[in-house]
Amino acid sequence: MRVPLSPVSHKLRVTATALGVAAVFTGSAFFLKLDAVKFFSRLQNAGGVLRRFMTIDLSVVGAATAEMIGSLAMAVAALCIGFFISLVLAFLAAGNTAPSKPLAAVIKGSAAVVRAVPALVWLLMIVASVGFGNAGGLFGLLFPTCGYLIKAFITSIEDQGTGSVEAMRAVGASRIEIAIKGVLPGAMGQILAWSAMRVEFNVAESVNLGMVGVSGIGAMLMRALGKYQYGAISAIALVMLITMSALEILVNRLRRGIRGGK
C-alpha cells in the first residue's frame, strides 16, 4: 500500500503555485523587454571600465573621509532625535500603555503611512519644501527613522504585558512613572537593539541624501560620477565600504553586548 507523505490536494497546490510563479516571471521578463543577447555583448566592455576603476585616486581619500563623517553625523543626529520622538509616540500608542484608543490608532496609522512611502521619497519631499542643506536632510531622515522605530518600540513595549502596568497604576503612579519605572526596565534592551540596527539604515539613507543634492559623501560621489573621475569614484566607494563594514561590526558588537547584559 502506498502512503503519501502529504495529501494529494496539498501536492496539487504546490505544483500550481510553482507554475504560477514561473508564469509571472516569464510575463515580467517580456514586459521589461529583457534582451539577454545585447546584455552579454555589452558585458565585453566591462573589462575596460573595471580597469579604469582599479586606479584609486588616493588624493581624494582625505576629503572623502571628511564628507563621510558629515554623513555619519547626520545619521546619528537623526537617530537621536528620532529615538526620543519615537519613544514618546510608542508609549502613547502601545496597547498596554496608550491613554486613548483613537490617539493610538492615529499614531499607528501615521507610522504605517510613513513606512509605506520609500525613504528617498520623504527626503526629496522634505528637501524640496525646506531646501537643501543639513537641516533639510536631517528633517528628511527623521521620517523614515520614526516610521521604523515607532513600530519596533511599540512591539517591545507591548511585550512587557499588562501586569506591570496594572501594578504601577494600582500604587497611584502617573503615566510617565508607569512608563519609566514599570515598562522601560524590561523593554530597554530591545529598544536599544532596534536603535542600533537603525543606525545602519540611517547611514545608508544619509549617503543617498548626498546623491539627491544635500551635502555629504553622496554629493561628492555624484560630482565624481558626473566628471567620469574613475579614480576618485573608487576612492570614495572604498571609504564608504570601510565605514559601513566597521559600522556593521560595531553595531553587532553593541547588540550582542545588550543581549548579554540582559
Binding site: T162, G163, S164, E166, A167, M168, R169, A170, V171, G172, A173, S174, I176, E177, I180, K181, G182, P185, G186
Partner: protein, 280 residues
Amino acid sequence: METILSVRALRKSYGAFEALRGVSLDFHSGEFVVVVGPSGAGKSTLIRCINRMIDPSSGGIEFDGVRLERARGAELRKRRAKIGMIFQHYNLIGRTNVIKNVLHGRLGHMPFIKSLFGLYSMADRLRAVALLEEIGLLEQKYKRADELSGGQMQRVGICRALMQEPRLLLADEPIASLDPRSAETVMNHLKRMTEQRGICCIVNLHQVDFARRYASRIIGVKSGAVVFDGKPEEFTADMARAIYEGGEADPLRGAAGDSVSDGTDYIEAAATPGGEYAAV
C-alpha cells in the same frame, strides 16, 4: 470597628451581560475578608472596581470618607496610593531588584521629579528594609525580582503593597499560582501583617478551606450578587455547596471538606481560562 469602605448598589455590565448586579457592602478596619465564589462570579470585578482598575457602570464607592467613583486623574491616583493591591501573577518589575520593587509602593506618595530619579527618602528605604526583614527576604534585597520563586515574589508583592501604608489592601487570588506550602506562607504573612497594622484586607480566593482558616468574615458571591456574608463558622458546607452549584467545578470537592486542612483542594482548579482571565 471603623467603617473605611462602603460599596453601594455597585453594578458593572459588559454590554448586555451584568458582571455585578447591585452589590452593597461595608468594610471595617482590621477585618480580613475573604470573597469566595465560582469562576466568573464577579469576584475580580468587585475588587477591581474598588480601586477603579475597572470603572463601575453605576453605584457608589466611599473610601476613607471620599467618593471614589467620581475621582479622576491626580485625585484618583492620590486615593489609589492609599489602597494596596496584590495580584495573582505578582506583577513585579522583573528586571528591577527587590528593594526597588518594594519602594515602588511609594510612587504615589512622592513628587514626580523625585520618583523619576529614584530619590526615595532614607525613611522609606529603612522601612522597605524593615518590611523585607519581617517577611524573611532581606537577603534577597538586591536580587532581580525575576530570579525569585513564586512564593518569594508574592511576598515582595505584599511588601510593595504595605509600603504604601494603605488603610485597605485588595488581593485578587494571591495564592492561585502557588504550591500549597508557599500558599500557606503567603497567607500567614498577609494575615499577620495586615492584622498588626489594623488594615482592612479583602482577599479573593477560590479555596474554601483557606477561606475558613484565615477569614474573619466570608462573603460569598454568585452570578454578580452577594449570597452570603457572615462569620467563617456560619459558612457551612451546605452554604458552600449552594454557592458553587451550577459553577464549572465540582461543588463537593473542598467545600464539603474531608481533607480540609491540606490546602490542596482547589475548587476552581479546572476553571475555564476565559472566565478567569477576562478581567485581567
